[in-house]
């Protein structure tokens, strides 16, 4: 089987790296990696026989032997084009999965705030790391297992009680190397204390025009009454493969807001999950994907209401062109204890051609009786009545369609708290939908 060949490749890659680790290979932290690689061996890569991967066939990415690449030199200038114009950010730059301190910079932070490379933590403060690492993103498939086994670098952010991080933290990921199929597996950890606040941009870009695989895992712990926002922007090249697992854990009264914006990639799979594990939490999951050519974008979300008096809002939108394909699977669990839950889900997509396709599956599992849950889905073409309305006022057909598609897409950004980010994303949408 093709899978098996692929599997062996990553296992032998792991062994090779392990041999070069010297002392580190004897550490308790490395035990976690070893445990993960055996889980990987057990799970293997998912196939479409797996219910969670039914509509996303990852076979194309198994054709390549992606490998870890270090030492690619890139300059400040190279990454400038990936920055958001006019936005003041604390910048963490990750190249091919490795944190690059020379390209990163941070403004003065409230005392106790830690922004460090994952690598640093592994070497210098593994006890701290191990308190959180792997405790939230469960290893339930080959990709999470693989990321965990290869957990060497990434970004760790610790925001203590009461700390407010004024400027965005932009974790800017660039991957690619001339003539290589690069494997990037950043592992990020965000730990926030009570009453803290932080906004993070997590963006992905490509340097070379090769097929690369980015396989990310983020664990986010949202403290009591904390407010954490994450904007994930997928803008890698059209050949790249991207798998992202984000797992948030919410404490009492916290707000977690996640935006997932997908523009690039050949096969993209996002799993964005939040567990509302105390009262009065709010979870917001928003997403937008604009696809073209033969792109395949799969968004899986899980909003897990475990405790009462919480609310969640979810809105995902897609615009699919050419023969691209989308998948939306939105799970909302309302556990027995989660009375007075208020959960709202909406999932809309516009198919611009008859070849474009989307599979959607809202999955509401409600075990509490005193709850308000609603979900709406609308998949279809542009509203032709609206097109005619615009045309009847002198607006040409093409422009009319573009205006309507942009309006449909930009709607997702209405709740963004940063005008600069709002305008930047609008601008990308504008340019993409020309």
């Amino acid at each position: 089987m093709e899978n098996t060949r692929s599997k062996d490749w990553y296992i032998s890659s792991f062994k090779k790296i392990e041999e070069s680790l010297n002392g580190e290979s004897k550490t308790p932290f490395h035990e976690l990696r070893k445990n993960a690689i055996s889980k990987f061996e057990e799970f293997d890569f998912p196939t479409i026989k797996n219910e969670e991967w039914k509509y996303t066939n990852i076979a194309p990415l198994l054709k390549y032997n992606f490998k870890q690449v270090t030492g690619v030199k890139i300059s400040k200038k190279d990454i400038e084009k990936f920055l958001i114009p006019g936005l003041k950010v604390n910048l963490a730059v990750i190249v091919n999965g490795n944190y690059v301190p020379e390209l990163s910079h941070f403004y003065k932070q409230p005392s106790g705030v830690r922004i460090e490379s994952f690598r640093n933590m592994v070497l210098n403060d593994p006890e701290f790391l191990m308190k959180y690492f792997g405790k939230y993103a469960s290893i339930d498939n080959g990709f999470v297992a693989l990321n965990t086994a290869f957990a060497f670098d990434g970004t760790v952010l610790y925001v203590p009680d009461g700390a407010i991080i004024e400027d965005y933290i932009h974790i800017l990921n660039v991957s690619g190397a001339e003539g290589e199929n690069v494997l990037s597996q950043p592992r990020n950890l965000v730990i926030t204390g009570s009453n803290s606040k932080v906004r993070i941009i997590e963006s992905y870009h490509s340097m070379a025009d090769n097929e690369n695989l980015t396989n990310v895992v983020n664990e986010v712990i949202v403290g009591e009454n904390a407010d954490v926002e994450i904007y994930k922007l997928q803008n890698e090249n059209m050949k790249s493969f991207h798998v992202n697992r984000t797992q948030a854990y919410q404490n009492r009264g916290s707000v977690f807001t996640h935006y997932s914006v997908t523009f690039g990639g050949s096969i993209v799979r996002n799993d964005t999950n939040t567990l509302l594990d105390a009262e009065n939490c709010t979870g917001n999951l928003y997403g937008l994907y604009l696809t073209e050519g033969s792109q395949h974008v799969d968004n899986h979300t899980l909003i897990d209401h475990a405790k009462p008096h919480c609310q969640s809002n979810e809105m995902y939108k897609g615009v699919l062109n050419d023969s691209s394909r989308g998948v939306f699977n939105g799970k909302v669990f309302v556990r027995v204890d989660a009375q007075k839950t208020n959960a709202y889900q909406s999932n809309k997509a516009i198919l611009l051609t008859s070849d474009a396709m989307i599979d959607t599956k809202p999955q509401l599992e409600i075990y509490a009786d005193d709850v308000k849950c609603s979900h709406g889905a609308a998949i279809g073409q542009l509203d032709e009545e609206a097109v005619f309305y615009l045309r009847s006022r002198g607006i040409g057909e093409e422009l009319a369609r573009t205006v309507l598609i942009r309006a449909f897409a930009n709607d997702i950004f209405e709740t963004l708290t940063s005008q600069i980010l709002h305008d930047h994303l609008n601008h990308i949408v504008y340019a993409k939908l020309k």
């Binding site: 509203d383 009847s392 002198g394 057909e397 930009n410």
Partner: protein, 254 residues
């Protein structure tokens, strides 16, 4: 200016307009009345260029130019305006930006310079006052969540903004309270001049007290069965459509 000659229109397999003749000259107001389903909106939509209608015969020209051969946007740029019976809601597109785009597309077509944001705003403020529409409606997405009356008022606001030469108002009076009716009629009357023309589709004589027509036509089962002056509307109100339908040969009233 507008000439409709022996127009036959089908939707799917159903013949809806069966030989319409209508001549509208500059400076005139024509009212079209008729029972539900008689084809009034169909006629209005065909003039504006809505898809889904099969023209099986006849012609529609504007100042001699073949309208039927033009795209809806081309007709609008040539001066055709349809105030919709059911204006569409357009989420995410603000009324103001929509009108700026529309106005500039029309200006471009006329060889005029595009209005910049400042001039546009000034022009818009003037018109807003004229039709009594407030900021809130202007900044909201087109028609989204507007009340029935607000939607109609918005149509007349657009009429004022775009200054067409031929305005076709499809039941703009329906759903309006008496005050709104006055405001809307006032907007239409301010629009009227010797160089443009108005076609109003209505069920109610009441509107015609405010927008006084030069001609009234009665459309029944896809045909104009009677035309006359403004008195005809009063007579219709008095006697009902039965009075005119009875004058149509029975076989064709189906």
């Amino acid at each position: 200016m507008l000439t409709v000659k022996d127009l036959y229109v089908r939707v799917e397999d159903k013949e809806i307009l069966k030989g319409i003749n209508l001549q509208v000259n500059r400076g005139e107001v024509h009212a079209i009345m008729g029972p539900n389903g008689s084809g009034k909106s169909t006629l209005a939509n065909v003039i504006a260029g809505k898809e889904g209608y099969e023209i099986t015969g006849g012609e529609v020209t504007l100042d001699g130019k073949d309208l039927l051969d033009m795209l809806p946007e081309e007709r609008a740029r040539e001066g055709v305006f349809l105030a919709f019976q059911y204006p569409v809601e357009i989420p995410g597109v603000s009324n103001a930006s929509f009108l700026k785009t529309a106005l500039n597309e029309i200006r471009k077509h006329k060889g005029l310079e595009e209005l910049d944001a400042m001039h546009f705003l000034k022009f818009m403020k003037e018109k807003m006052k004229m039709v009594g529409i407030d900021d809130n409606l202007i900044n909201r997405p087109v028609n989204q969540g507007f009340s029935g009356g607000e939607k109609k008022r918005n149509e007349i606001f657009q009429l004022q903004m775009l200054q067409p030469t031929l305005a076709v108002l499809d039941e703009t009076d329906s759903g309006l309270d008496i005050d709104a009716l006055k405001v809307v009629s006032h907007g239409v009357n301010l629009f009227r001049n010797k160089d443009n023309a108005v076609v109003v589709v209505t069920h109610y004589q009441r509107l015609l007290n405010y927008i006084v027509p030069d001609f009234v036509h009665v459309l029944v089962s896809g045909r104009i069965v009677k035309s006359g002056g403004k008195e005809l509307a009063l007579e219709l109100e008095d006697k009902g459509y039965d009075w005119v339908t009875n004058t149509v040969p029975a076989a064709e009233t189906v």
